[in-house]
């Protein structure tokens, strides 16, 4: 199933962008990777269509720091657009491997982190063992919400 991006993000907002690039000017991911940057992402959506963006692995080069939202003089909810695009990318199988791994762990344990000898470590800090998360309920909820569209678990 392909997701409808414009359900998440009002397409009209794209036309508010006049490409001033204040967003990319502050984008930390732009400084250290070949990210598309918010400005580039919006321009590509407008000129090439969003398919061109969601097929590109660079759509994931992002800190999700939302500073672009902060800077945008037109108050375009850029972070909403990025969520929509990445959700759409994920349904096309475009997801970074590490991210998938952490989600598999979430589906398996109800948490996104796992360490050896957790109880001992917590005891070292005078803390009781951490009760396990209610995995069955979590899995059931994730299934009903449709996570299987992007992840087998």
């Amino acid at each position: 199933m392909t997701i409808k991006i414009w359900k998440f993000f009002d397409r009209e907002e794209l036309y508010e962008c006049y490409q001033c690039a204040r967003c990319t000017g502050s984008c930390p991911a732009m400084e250290v990777t070949a990210a598309l940057g918010p400005r580039g992402t919006i321009l590509k959506c407008l000129n090439l269509g969003h398919e061109a963006v969601v097929q590109d692995e660079k759509v994931w080069f992002c800190c999700t720091c939302n500073v672009c939202d902060d800077r945008c003089p037109q108050q375009i909810p850029i972070s909403d657009l990025l969520v929509a695009l990445r959700n759409s990318a994920a349904r096309r199988g475009n997801v970074p491997g590490r991210l998938l791994l952490s989600l598999e762990l979430l589906a398996k344990t109800g948490r996104t982190m796992i360490v050896h000898q957790l109880d001992e470590m917590r005891a070292h800090h005078g803390l009781a063992p951490l009760p396990p998360a209610p995995v069955d309920e979590v899995r059931a909820i994730l299934k009903r919400a449709g996570l299987e569209e992007v992840l087998d678990f």
Partner: protein, 298 residues
């Protein structure tokens, strides 16, 4: 003052020292924590939300329901958790469609989102006047260090969602509460360039560890410029970037001086007279021992 304590994943599993410090500080300051609720992962705004919004919203809603059932506001210790739970809470309160969709999923487990509680962060809880009054009364020592605060993007961005009241008058909002709070315990909160730059954690975690460290390296550059002695954070992911990040960066650049990083309640805990060991400082990768000895804290 009573909250449902939401630990999340990273703190109880990776950094239980923060949990220990928070429990001690809250107990001393009369903040009651209820923590027998079967929460799951929040889930993170940088992870599941990016991949599958509906699943993210449903799971977050479940966590909110647990607090609702207990009739308590939710206290989080992590910028990521507070971002997810605040946004989900608002999205579900304001959108009938989303609430209907999510409640349909949750009804199988006899849960229903009603929008009856608020979500808050430990910094905002400690920042309340009554807590600050108590802190001043119970303070055992001052912490005279030059500390740089790092808030973590998800704690305050986007401000129109996280802190709409602060934004209503101005065109933009940047947080100040940690700086104010720390100045109460004798800390000299020190400004530095690019203070509100991201720590790089999500980029490092999802895409490229090195790229994530490159961002934190930049922050550290500006932090060193101001002779900052220690860092204070309110998020385990940010902490990892600064703590582990400095170790990783120093492998490449041997002569780097390393700056210890504290979780906020560890610094407050020191001021309240707890020992570094009680507060879990012994397991930090960048050791604070020498620095603390220099101000007679052992």
């Amino acid at each position: 003052m009573k909250y449902a304590l939401y630990l999340g994943c990273a703190i109880p599993i990776k950094y239980p020292g923060f949990e220990a410090a928070t429990r001690l500080v809250c107990e001393r300051l009369g903040i009651e924590l209820v923590d027998d609720l079967p929460f799951s992962c929040c889930p993170p705004p940088t992870g599941l939300k990016m991949v599958h919004y509906d699943s993210w919203l449903a799971l977050a809603a479940r966590n909110l329901c647990l607090a609702e059932e207990a009739g308590l506001d939710l206290l989080t210790l992590c910028s990521g958790c507070v971002n997810t739970l605040k946004e989900a809470n608002q999205a579900l309160k304001h959108s009938d469609a989303k609430r209907r969709r999510v409640n349909k999923i949750l009804e199988a487990h006899n849960r229903k989102f009603n929008g009856a509680i608020e979500v808050t962060h430990i910094l905002d809880v400690l920042y309340q006047d009554s807590v600050v009054d108590k802190l001043i009364k119970l303070m055992a020592r001052e912490i005279p260090l030059r500390v740089g605060c790092h808030y973590g993007c998800h704690y305050f961005r986007p401000p129109q969602m996280m802190y709409p009241n602060e934004l209503s008058e101005a065109e933009s909002y940047v947080p100040v509460r940690m700086d104010h709070l720390l100045s109460i315990i004798g800390v000299e909160p020190t400004e530095y360039s690019r203070k509100f730059l991201c720590c790089g954690s999500p980029l490092g975690a999802n895409v490229d560890t090195e790229a994530g460290y490159a961002i934190v390296a930049q922050k550290l550059h500006y932090i060193r410029q101001r002779n900052i002695q220690a860092l204070s954070v309110i998020c385990p992911s940010c902490f990892e970037q600064f703590d582990m990040g400095q170790i990783a960066l120093s492998r490449k650049q041997k002569d780097l001086s390393k700056i210890p990083t504290f979780y906020l309640t560890q610094l407050i805990g020191l001021a309240l007279g707890f020992s570094p060991k009680e507060l879990g400082l012994d397991v930090h990768r960048v050791k604070a021992k020498r620095l603390l000895e220099s101000i007679d804290v052992a």
